[in-house]
Point group: C2
């Protein structure tokens, strides 16, 4: 690390792309020597969650702060986002989420009516997957020391010992599935901020995905999972390719991108592949099981738009490549940062 | 609840006294129906943490956001505070803390040098009790949407099934011990803010207390524990008395209050009993074991100033009473709120 690179924290350092990876590896992680439990998954893996081995079971734990503006948006609110975000991180490790904690940071003067709406939404989202909210904390901060409301949730899930599904598990030949359409959340938030309308309804996809993940696990053959939040599909695929030591090839014509999201992205100069999703997962599945897993996903509430995007290959390790509609090949790079701040 | 009482969130709602209890019971808790795991301790108990029964063991989980200004103070910093606060909440349930997660909310432009100092301090404090920091999250918020830095930590500990020590466990006749001096943290923070000096060194007591708690548990006879953070000793004792259905009688002349804290409290018009401690615990112990437990506490690093404050009685349930130095009896009420905002 040089002082030139790092003297002040920048928005990019929390934005899910290469800047964040570099920041975590060079600044944050080295502070922690005791960073995992023997036999478990810890901080150095930078996976969706960590694990605690406990006899014949393993606990999965994941934590996330949620800061989004506006707090209410088409398709959700910060409460639904906080519950879904944490449930999904636990689920991406292959674990059944069982409990969640919820720490509130509230600006003095915040409306109780709105707080009520948000907490009920959080509770309802957790209830969809039978996740109990068992502990919490409430801090109220003086005006102008925090913008309205931040929610920090931590989720705990259970899995059989040694069965956690990690980002490094993709094998050459695996099919790459996405369980829902791309970029809906980030674009919906941006539209809300800018007062844009698109004729048809554009809304966030924020949703808890445990039931969808469970359907995949019941079929079997799942090698890796990741939810493409900050930094979007581009960031998630690059992380998976790098950690697994494979290349990932996707096909542009198979990308499930809504017409409104496509149009808005063009208008705003954004690449939908770099935009945050909050109700979709990328799932790598062994080739022979891919169609059966896809069927199972499509039968779940939040999996109806699932598609097989492409596959993993052995050569060109760490790269993500896209066959374009016009017949070329484009390298999908990990973005430097999420294009839109405060979306999750 | 009437709308007159609750339309806007106030500082008092997060400040650890009666206002917070009322806010949680009337506004927050009713939002969550699925609020505990069968056989475990959940949200309705409002204890230091919740539990997840898991075969012959029980997991204890506790979460806390930390917001303190200034970030560095005599005796600690927000990193040490975040680690100690969470370790202590888990320890107060009688569980050995094993892991912690750490979610950072950082204001854009924050100094990396200071972040480094804070994270190393957090890690060192966790390491004192061999607690691994295994997962985290980093969000950077635009300038003026958060004041510098907030840290949300969640801790997980392990205990034998059914052995969690809860606030409601005090029996009449139990002795009430405090493991350290009273009010140091809150007064040190306030002194730092106001640039006050007191001749001798006044510093925060922020410290992780698992080793101290472990020493007590090894002796046995521990019926309840609580760390007197927001709302101080007055708030903690009132909660314990109410939940246990006993009265608690303490003696003014036995209160371990440093001369500097006493002097500063008088000058600032504060009652040290209502001021946040971050390195002390209140422990209720069966009468016969009290002296042995006290000895064990005093041999631990953060227990040298431990004292027996008083005892629990059967009559006048829910009250906390103090025999004053001049021979009278004063009711120690639960404060409406912590007197000093942003101390933990």
């Amino acid at each position: 690390m040089s002082d030139d690179d790092f003297s002040r924290v920048e928005l990019a350092h929390g934005a899910g792309g290469r800047a964040m990876t570099k920041f975590l590896k060079e600044i944050v992680f080295p502070c922690f020597q005791l960073n995992k439990i023997d036999g478990g998954i810890g901080l150095p893996s930078a996976d969706d969650g960590a694990t605690i081995p406990l006899g014949d079971r393993e606990l999965v734990i994941s934590t996330d702060s949620h800061t989004v503006t506006p707090l209410f948006f088409a398709g959700g609110d910060i409460g639904r986002l906080a519950a879904a975000g944490t449930i999904n991180d636990v689920a991406m490790m292959g674990a059944r989420p069982i409990v969640m904690t919820c720490a509130l940071l509230i600006e003095e003067g915040f409306s109780i009516t709105n707080l009520h709406r948000i907490l009920r939404s959080l509770a309802a989202t957790a209830l969809e997957e039978r996740v109990a909210v068992i502990a919490g904390d409430t801090k109220v901060m003086p005006r102008n020391t925090i913008d309205k409301l931040v929610i920090c949730t931590t989720g705990v899930g259970i899995i059989e010992q040694g069965k956690a599904i990690v980002d490094s598990g993709i094998q050459p030949g695996d099919k790459i599935i996405i369980t829902g359409s791309i970029g809906d959340h980030g674009i919906a938030i941006l539209a809300e901020r800018d007062g844009l309308t698109f004729g048809t309804e554009l809304k966030s996809d924020t949703a808890p995905l445990w039931s969808t993940v469970k359907a995949c696990l019941e079929v079997g053959g799942v090698h890796a999972m990741k939810d493409p939040t900050r930094g979007g599909v581009a960031s998630a695929l690059n992380e998976l390719a790098t950690k697994s030591g494979v290349s990932i090839w996707i096909e542009e014509e198979k990308l499930p991108i809504r017409r409104e999201v496509q149009a808005a992205s063009q208008m705003l100069g954004l690449d939908p592949l770099q935009v945050t999703c909050e109700g979709a997962a990328i799932i790598a599945v062994e080739r022979e099981k891919a169609d059966t897993v896809l069927d199972a996903i499509q039968k779940t509430r939040y999996g109806v738009n699932a598609k097989i995007l492409g596959e993993a290959k052995e050569d060109r390790q760490g790269l993500v490549l896209m066959k374009t509609k016009v017949g070329g090949t484009r390298i999908i790079q990990q973005p430097w940062a999420e294009a839109i701040p405060r979306v999750c």
